[in-house]
Amino acid sequence: MSPEATGTTSGLPSKKVLGLFALAMINVAAVLSIRNFPSMAIYGWSCIGWYIIGAILFLIPISLAGAELATGWPEGGGVYAWVKQAFGEKGGFTALFCEWSNNLVWFPTVLSFIASTLAFALTPSLSASPWYMFSVMMIAFWGTTAIAYFGEEASTKFGNIGVILGSIIPAILIILFGIWWIGSGQSLVLPPLTLGAMVPAINMSTLPFFATIILLFAGMEMAGFHALETRDPQKDFPRAMALSAAIIVVCTVLATLAIAVVIPADKLNLASGVMQAIQYFFNAAHVPGLVAPMAVLITLGGVVSLAAWLIGPAKGLGIVAEEGNMPPMFDRTNKYGAPVAVLVIQALIGSLISLLYVFLPSVNQAYWILSAMTVELLCIVYILVFASVIKLRYSQPDKPRPFTIPGGKAGVWIVGGLGLFGTTLAFVVGLMPPSFFASNGLAYVFSVLLGTFLLAVPPLVFLKCKKASWEKPAEPGRDLS
């Protein structure tokens, strides 16, 4: 059977539709976000230092670890398959579930971003209407779920076009305007670049930002969820990791600097959102007419990012259910191979949390705690992934890995160790209460830890309740070990 042909794997019909470009675009969609640029630009030249920290302690380690794990264990399930090999079903299921559950808390933020950015293109005052916000958020959420319903081919086409239009083109436009700004002799708001200016100030005040910068590049493992639909995973995964990392770094660093040299830091008011910064930017460049089209493109970028995070972990959970670790209800797939039950449950829970988010915004501090939980949950995922790449070098040394982290065991310890250090530190720092909680710091830490526990514990309950009848007979061509 040719790799292009439709394959059947334990109930999930999978078409081998993904190549190098599509895999890379999945990662770019998950990681590259225009939202980050103004927030980082406020740091001026020192954003370079922060990006370097993020690259050394997370981006490079996760790209290398992901490439080794994805080529060594190119089964469906992504982080689930990788961590399961190292730490068994409990570990794998917990890693995947943490990735899935943190999404559900994160979805309202990206949906709100989509709705408010679209409002900017239509009538900015619309964003003050909770009903407008909730309606657009639900259309985006259920619309993206509907695209996922039509399987990998539809999602891939949407993702490829969307990420180019909504993420890469806006980033390139910002970079080009930055270059034009410098080239045309306009005044730069940053002082001359020196080595010292690039060094970030790391102290107790900026330490919480550390967790943020580590997770700035979270999502590089997203392509791993699509292994079953990849034509040649062992060849394409490492190249896709390299290509996506290069696109993400170039776009992120250059676009951030472009904004930083044009817009004064006091105009980059972080409470004002990305579109306000973009508007200032294009007004300064005397092309105000581009603001509305840019808002539409950035809205599309938000939807594509949502789709990448919505589809990947849901597919992983579908695989877990298919392997009999969840009740058969979760194992329902449609003729396109999409895990419909997981998608619908995800959309229902996400809609409920979005409802609270929109209609109770002035409990802002509550949402801060929920955001802190998402940080902790993601850190758990990555700690398990980095620990897995190290452990598997010892427990399965002879497993063929078309891509291996260079440097033998020392290399894997350095790469995995850097990743473990970064994510563990981010986990600890993520527990630091912000100053407005200072009078109630212990309650804050307790709330974050309890919430994280509640959102991470369901896999252990499911495995405890597991019945033999949940398991499907394995079909040829699929290794469920």
Binding site: S205, L216, S447
Partner: protein, 148 residues
């Protein structure tokens, strides 16, 4: 099948509750800040009352629907800590809440939003960096000003 559909549904319900419990619990322990007019300049008043120097003040109006103007203060304490505090008043609860949503919708990467946001009546107060001794001192007093 060993598992009855009722038990299967129970596990689905359990899953949903695991998500809703943290959300509902946190919402219950958090105080909603009512929209009401707080007179004067709450940040300047609190800072001065606590012996924190206001080293610079600038008028600022955020480019947001319903924003009616505010100030950006640079505050310095005797230990040399410095924070920038921006305040912005809004003409309605809806526009103020939209600003809060916008803030929460702009996290960096998969992390938290930058800085800290507090709500004082009709004002949204944005402080950067998020953690500082100055904010730790002024936050409880600002919260008191929010109370009717």
């Amino acid at each position: 099948m060993n598992m009855t559909p009722r038990m299967e549904h129970g596990l689905v319900l359990f899953l949903v509750l695991m998500f809703l419990i943290p959300c509902i619990m946190i919402i219950f322990i958090s105080e909603e800040v009512p929209y009401r007019i707080v007179p004067g300049e709450p940040v300047r008043d609190v800072a001065q009352a606590m012996g924190i120097s206001v080293t610079s003040v600038k008028d600022t109006t955020w480019n947001l629907p319903g924003a009616t103007g505010g100030k950006t203060y640079v505050l310095t304490d005797s230990a040399g800590n410095v924070v920038t505090v921006s305040t912005q008043a809004f003409d309605s609860a809806e526009s103020r809440d939209a600003a809060i949503r916008l803030y929460n919708a702009n996290p960096v990467g998969r992390g938290k939003p930058m800085g800290s946001l507090m709500v004082v009546g009709q004002h949204v107060v944005y402080v950067t960096p998020a953690n500082s001794e100055i904010l730790q001192r002024i936050a409880p007093e600002l919260k008191k000003k929010s109370s009717p």
